[in-house]
C-alpha cells in the first residue's frame, strides 16, 4: 500500500522543479512513498497553514519559515521534534539555528537553503560606461553618479511601495557592514546595543542617499517593476538577493550578461560582511498519520543528493549542507564565493527580535521605505524602531 505525503509550501515558484526533478528522484529511490507537493500563494501561506494545523487538515510535511513562525508551531506541538534525525548531522549549528528552540536543545526542521544578499549589475552597461564593480562605499556612489550622469540607464532599480525591497535588499543588504554582522546582531539581542547606535543608524543614512539614484516614480515602483527594469536592461544595478539569479536568467534570455558584487565596505581593507540568510527548512506535521514515511523523506532532504539537486535546480538558493555542493551557475558561484572571505550573518531582525508587537521586521520595512522616500529622517526612523522594540523586549528596556 502506497502512502502519499503532502508537502505544504509557499514556494509556488518551485512547483515545476519538485514535479520534474525532486519528486521523481525520491520516488525512484523509495518505492511505496508518493509525494504530493501542494504549494500555496506565498502571501497566504502562514495564515492558511496555521488554520489548517489548528483544524487538523494540514499536510504531512511542512515547509518551515525560519525562526519564530516555525518555533511557534513547534511550541504549540504542531511540528514534530526532529533532533534525532540522522541527517541532522549534515548541518552546522548556524544552519540549524533558524529551526531550533532558543536554547538549541531541539531542532524541528531540516534546513534546505539560504540566500545571500548583494548587488547584481548589467555587465554590458558597465562596459559601455567603462565602469568597474565597486568595492568600497565611495566607489559605489562614484559608479552610481557616473551612470546617472550618462543618463542611458537608471542607476539602480528599486522601489518602495512593497517596502520589503527597501528593507531586505536595502537595509539588510548593506547593514551588516555597519553593525558588523553577527557581533551587532547578538549585541542587539542581549541588549548591549541599541538601534539608535551608530552602526544601526548609518545604514538608514545610506539608504536615504539612494533616493537620488532610483528611477522616476520609484515611490510607486513595485517589486516586479524593479525586476523588469533590470532584466529589460533599463537599470544598471539591482540590489538583490541571490534568489533572483534563477528568476532573472531566463528573463534576460541572453540580452546581456549579469554580474554581481558584494555589499561595499566602508574603507579599503575593512572586513566584509554578508547576509547569508537561512530561509527554508522542512519539518514534520506532528499530527501526520504517515510519520515514518515522512521521516524517510526528511532524511533524504538532509542528504547530499537532495542538496545538489536543489541547489542546481534553483540557482541562488544555496544549500546549507556542510558538504559543499558543486554549482554550475556562474553568478551563483560568485555569490557563494563571498562566503570565503566575508563574515556571514543572518538578517538582524529575524531571530527573537520580531517576537513581539510591534514587530521589528515589519517596522523595519516601513522605516526603510520611509527613509528612502524621504518622509522620515534616518535618526527619527531609528528612534522609532528602538522605541517599538523596547516597548516589549526586556533586554532593551534599560
Amino acid at each position: 500500500q502506497d502512502v502519499t505525503l503532502t508537502v505544504e509550501s509557499w514556494r509556488n515558484d518551485d512547483l515545476q522543479i519538485w514535479q520534474e526533478t525532486i519528486i521523481p528522484a525520491f520516488e525512484a529511490a523509495n518505492p511505496g512513498i508518493k509525494i504530493n507537493f501542494a504549494p500555496t500563494a506565498p502571501a497566504e501561506y502562514n495564515a492558511v497553514l496555521n488554520s489548517k494545523l489548528d483544524a487538523g487538515s494540514a499536510g504531512d510535511l511542512i515547509t518551515c519559515r525560519p525562526f519564530d513562525a516555525s518555533l511557534e508551531l513547534f511550541n504549540k506541538g504542531q511540528l514534530a521534534d526532529l533532533t534525532d534525525l540522522e541527517s541532522m548531522a549534515n548541518f552546522s549549528d548556524v544552519a540549524k539555528s533558524a529551526w531550533q528552540t532558543d536554547d538549541g536543545s531541539a531542532t524541528f526542521c531540516v534546513p534546505m537553503a539560504s540566500v545571500i544578499h548583494g548587488f547584481l549589475y548589467n555587465k554590458a552597461a558597465f562596459e559601455e560606461l567603462g565602469l568597474e564593480p565597486p568595492k568600497t562605499v565611495d566607489e559605489f556612489y562614484a559608479v552610481l553618479d557616473k551612470i546617472k550622469e550618462d543618463g542611458t540607464y537608471i542607476p539602480m532599480a528599486m522601489g518602495t511601495p512593497d517596502q520589503w525591497e527597501a528593507a531586505t535588499m536595502g537595509y539588510q543588504n548593506i547593514g551588516p557592514t555597519y553593525w558588523k554582522g553577527e557581533e551587532g546582531r547578538k549585541a542587539l539581542i542581549d541588549g548591549s546595543q541599541k538601534l539608535t547606535d551608530e552602526g544601526w543608524v548609518e545604514p538608514f543614512r545610506q539608504l536615504a542617499k539612494w533616493k537620488d539614484y532610483l528611477g522616476d516614480g520609484f515611490e510607486a515602483q513595485t517589486y516586479p517593476d524593479s525586476q523588469n527594469l533590470f532584466t529589460l536592461g533599463r537599470a544598471a544595478i539591482y540590489p538583490a538577493g541571490s534568489w533572483e539569479i534563477g528568476v532573472f536568467e531566463p528573463q534576460i534570455a541572453g540580452a546581456f550578461e549579469m554580474g554581481a558584487f558584494a555589499p561595499p565596505i566602508v574603507a579599503e581593507g575593512d572586513t566584509c560582511y554578508i547576509s547569508d540568510h537561512t530561509d527554508i527548512g522542512i519539518g514534520l506535521n506532528a499530527a501526520s498519520q504517515n510519520a515514518d514515511a515522512a521521516r524517510t523523506f526528511l532524511e533524504w532532504v538532509g542528504s547530499d543528493e537532495f542538496a545538489s539537486l536543489y541547489a542546481n535546480a534553483l540557482p541562488g538558493f544555496f544549500s546549507l549542507n556542510s558538504n559543499p555542493v558543486e554549482m554550475e551557475n556562474a553568478v551563483a558561484q560568485e555569490f557563494v564565493s563571498w562566503r570565503e572571505n566575508c563574515e556571514p550573518t543572518i538578517r538582524s531582525t529575524y531571530q527573537i527580535l520580531s517576537r513581539g508587537t510591534p514587530n521589528l521586521e515589519n517596522e523595519t520595512w516601513n522605516a526603510s521605505a520611509n527613509v528612502i522616500n524621504g518622509t522620515e529622517t534616518p535618526e527619527a526612523a531609528a528612534e522609532r524602531l528602538q522605541e517599538g522594540l523596547a516597548s516589549w523586549y526586556e533586554p532593551q528596556q534599560n
Binding site: P161, G217, F218, D225, W365
Partner: protein
Amino acid sequence: MARRKGFRWHIAVFLAPAVLVYTAIMIIPLIGTLNLSLFGKGETGRVFVGLANFATLFGDPRWSAAFWNALANNAWFFLVHMLVQNPVGVMLAALLSSPRLRMAAFYRTAIFVPTILSFVIVGFVWKLILSPIWGIAPNMLDAVGLKSLFAPWLGREGTALTTLALVSVWQFVGIPMMLIYAALLSIPDEVIEAAEMDGVTGWPQFWKIKLPLILPSIGIISVLTFVGNFNAFDLIYVSQGALAGPNFATDLLGTFLYRTFFGFQLQLGDPHMGATIATAMFGIILVGVCIYLFAIQTRLRRYQF
C-alpha cells in the same frame, strides 16, 4: 392581514433553512472567534483577561494610533464611495432606465464588467496603468501634454488612499447601478407618464418623482457601501500588501485586522488582539447598521406599486 391565533408555522418554515445554515456555519464560528478577544495568551495556553485586550487596543499608544489611523482612512475611503460611487451609480442607472434607450443592455453589461473581475486582476491592471515606469497613464497624459500632472499616485502618502478608493469605485459602481436600475424599473410606467404629461421631464422628473420612489434602495446601497467599505480588505491587500503602504497611508480596518489576526511575514498571528480589533470593527459597523435600520429605514417611505 388578519391577526391569527396560534403559531404560524409557515414563518418558521420560511426562516428555518436560512437561519440554520447561517447560524451553524457563520454565527457560531464567528462568535467563537470574537470570543477570543476576551482571552490572552498565557503560560499554559489561553487565559481569560476580560477587557484587557480592549484596554491595550485603545490605551496602548501604538495600538491605538494604528487603529485610529485605520479608522480615519476607512472613513475617508467610505466618504469617497458615497460621494463618487453612489452618485455615479445612480446617474448611470437613471440614464440606463430611460425608456427605449438603444444598447442599454450593452452599456449595462459593460459597466458591470469590472465588478466581475477578481481583485488580483484589478490590482494588477491598475498598478500597470498607473505605473510611472510602464505607465499607460503617464503616456496618455503625455499625449495630451499634461505629463506634469502625473505623479506616482499609488506611492505617495497623500494620494495613495484616494487613488485606491477611486479604483474601488471603478470596480464596484456596477452594484449601486444594478440595484437602482432594478428599483427604477419597478416604478410603474403610468406614474412616469403622468409626470411627462405634467411637464416634469428630464432632471426634474428624476429629482421629484423617481428619486423619492427609490430612496429606500439608496438607503440600502448606502448601508451596503458602509458595511462593504468597513470590511474592505482585498484591494488594498493585493495592491499595497498587508502593510498597506506607503507608511500605512492605505491601512484600513480590514488590513489592520488581517495583519494582526493572521500575522504577516515575521509577525505572528495574534488571534486575541485580532479578535479584539474584529470586535471593535463589528461594533462600529453594528452601530452604523442599527442607525440605518432603526433610525433611517423606518422613516423611509416605501410605496407598493
